[in-house]
């Protein structure tokens, strides 16, 4: 008798997850501010799992209306998956509404210190939009972070602090990355096997490898890792950047690099693009 193929296996995966820190039990206020914050960037979430951190409201006797909040979040592309922290009553109410329970605290030592001390990665409502005191979302990337890199007058953006990054598995994309799409590998390297077209954007905190033509923008070492490198099968890019030091190709890419396999690295704040030896 032939042995049956195993139909499943269970593993613990270390996936990165968005956490919505709930600062109030006033759902109207929360929803209003979420609306204001994410209405303009509708693409930001798309069926993205999000955990709710309730530790800030754990002392309250009230529990949020989770069912209502979940459907509201879903309208904005966020799928609430479970709660972190909160009072016993709040956690019970969450389970009743179909949410899962995470352990009380998030275990993520290295990046935790980044997000609390430097906030290079967080879109903090209190910082960027003072009129919105009710919520803070810890995320990888957003307009403020990016535009800061791209708009800086000086071409170099010094990292705010040196923190050893936590190991995250490399993100692998095996489809074309098209105009208007943005991919961010938070705390990880990024490998792209499909073409990256003009108007697309790749961002990684680690290295970026592209085994296809690169026509869009590519930003490695987004959190300031000056050792990050970019490897490209065929260079036709609009912009390359490492640790905030960037290069655009206004007059076209030099003949000796255009369409060639290249690597890009930083050498004392100089962005070096050189052909890969064949």
């Amino acid at each position: 008798m032939a042995r049956e193929e195993p139909a499943f296996k269970i593993k613990i995966a270390n996936l990165s997850l968005f956490v919505l820190y709930v600062h109030t039990t006033d759902m109207d206020q929360l929803k209003k501010q979420l609306d204001m914050r994410f209405n303009k960037t509708q693409d930001f979430f798309s069926n993205t799992p999000v955990a709710l951190d309730l530790s800030a409201i754990a002392n309250s006797n009230l529990s949020p209306d989770f069912v209502d909040l979940m459907s509201f979040m879903l309208d904005h592309g966020m799928r609430a998956t479970g709660v972190v922290g909160g009072s016993t009553e709040q956690r019970e109410a969450a389970v009743q509404s179909g949410l899962g329970l995470f352990p009380d605290t998030i275990i993520r030592p290295a990046l935790k210190s980044v997000s609390t001390s430097t906030t290079t990665t967080s879109i903090d409502a209190e910082d960027s939009q003072p009129e919105l005191p009710g919520l803070a979302i810890e995320t990888g990337v957003g307009e403020p972070n990016n535009s800061r890199i791209l708009d800086s007058d000086t071409q170099i953006q010094k990292p705010v602090s040196q923190v050893l990054p936590a190991f995250r598995p490399t993100m692998i994309i095996n489809k074309p990355v098209r105009t208007g799409q943005r991919i961010y590998a938070e705390g990880a390297s990024l490998v792209v096997l499909g073409v990256v077209n003009a108007g697309a954007e790749l961002i990684a905190d680690g290295d970026i490898h592209i085994y296809a033509p690169l026509r869009g923008r590519v930003i490695a070492g987004a959190q300031g890792n000056e050792n990050a490198r970019i490897f490209v099968h065929s260079l036709e890019a609009e912009l390359v950047s490492i640790a905030g030091c960037f290069k655009v190709f206004e007059n076209g890419i030099p003949e000796n690099l255009r369409g060639k396999s290249v690597q890009v690295h930083l050498d004392c704040s100089d962005l070096i693009i050189q052909p890969l030896l064949s």
Binding site: G180, N197, A198, G199
Partner: protein
């Protein structure tokens, strides 16, 4: 199984409606029970190209609002027995076109039609999004110029990320590249992108190349889909497209290279 096919492009004026009209007619000529829906609410054009503008009484918004039945709004095509047209509204606000209503209509149409062709408006606003959301397959209409290709790339990205199939985690929308208004002579002169250039950027399978032709304009003005024109390369090209869509293997890709004048033709000065 009935199929929902969206004809879309991002950019305007590339030939979506012309393609919708000829493609749906071609499907009907091949024996498929077909309906073509105009999603361009506020700027309806499809009925003009199909030559049924004087028979439009009700439109898709009437059906969505439950004012009339689907049957009352469908218009039978004058050229093909198997083809029906569901026109867009000229007067209503485009926001009246909501996903729930469209889904209801599509489900009802699926009961009696084999092919449902959705003619998308230009842009990436709600109208175009609604048209593509429920699609099983997509014809990406592209002209051989950079801005059109760029917009098609954007649409492909949205299809891959936001269509119902993508959201539900089903098999992705099947994408077909249709290059229209192609002029091999101008391509050879380096004034236009070639089919190879376009495919190099978009990287989806090519379903056909429609040559640039004055007859398209004449057909549109006459209210006859170009596929019905006699002795026209455009009609031939659209028939090839329908054939490939229906799975005819081995159809050669025509109209890609400029026609060389034969020796005698040159000698006799014939055109």
């Amino acid at each position: 199984m009935s199929k929902v096919i969206v004809v879309t492009s991002g950019k305007g004026g590339v030939g979506k409606t012309t393609t919708s009209a000829s493609f749906s007619s071609g499907l009907a000529l091949r024996g498929n029970k077909t309906v073509v829906i105009d999603f361009d609410v506020g700027l309806r054009n499809l009925d003009l190209i199909m030559g049924c503008e004087r028979r439009v009484v009700y439109d898709i918004i009437n059906v969505i609002n439950g004012e009339v039945s689907l049957k009352q709004a469908l218009i039978k095509d004058k050229n093909c027995d198997n083809l029906y047209i569901l026109p867009a509204s000229q007067t209503r606000d485009k926001d009246a076109l909501n996903l729930e209503g469209v889904e209801r209509i599509l489900n009802e149409l699926k009961e009696s039609f084999d092919c449902i062709v959705c003619d998308s408006p230009a842009g990436i606003e709600s109208g175009a999004f609604t048209a593509m959301y429920f699609a099983d397959e997509a014809l990406i209409v592209t002209n051989p110029e950079v801005s059109s290709v760029r917009d098609s790339d954007r649409i492909l990205g949205i299809l891959a990320a936001k269509s119902k199939r993508a959201v539900d985690g089903l098999e992705p929308v099947k994408e077909h590249l249709l290059v229209t208004r192609y002029d091999p002579k101008r391509v050879e002169a380096g004034e236009m992108l070639s089919v190879v250039d376009i495919q190099e950027i978009l990287r989806i399978p090519l379903i056909g190349v429609i040559p640039e032709s004055e007859s398209v304009l004449q057909a549109s003005n006459a209210g006859t889909p170009a596929i019905h024109l006699d002795k026209s390369d455009v009609a031939e090209a659209y028939r090839d497209v329908v054939g490939r869509f229906m799975g005819d293997a081995g159809l050669p890709m025509r109209f890609v290279t400029a026609e060389k004048k034969g020796f005698f033709k040159r000698l006799l000065g014939g055109r």
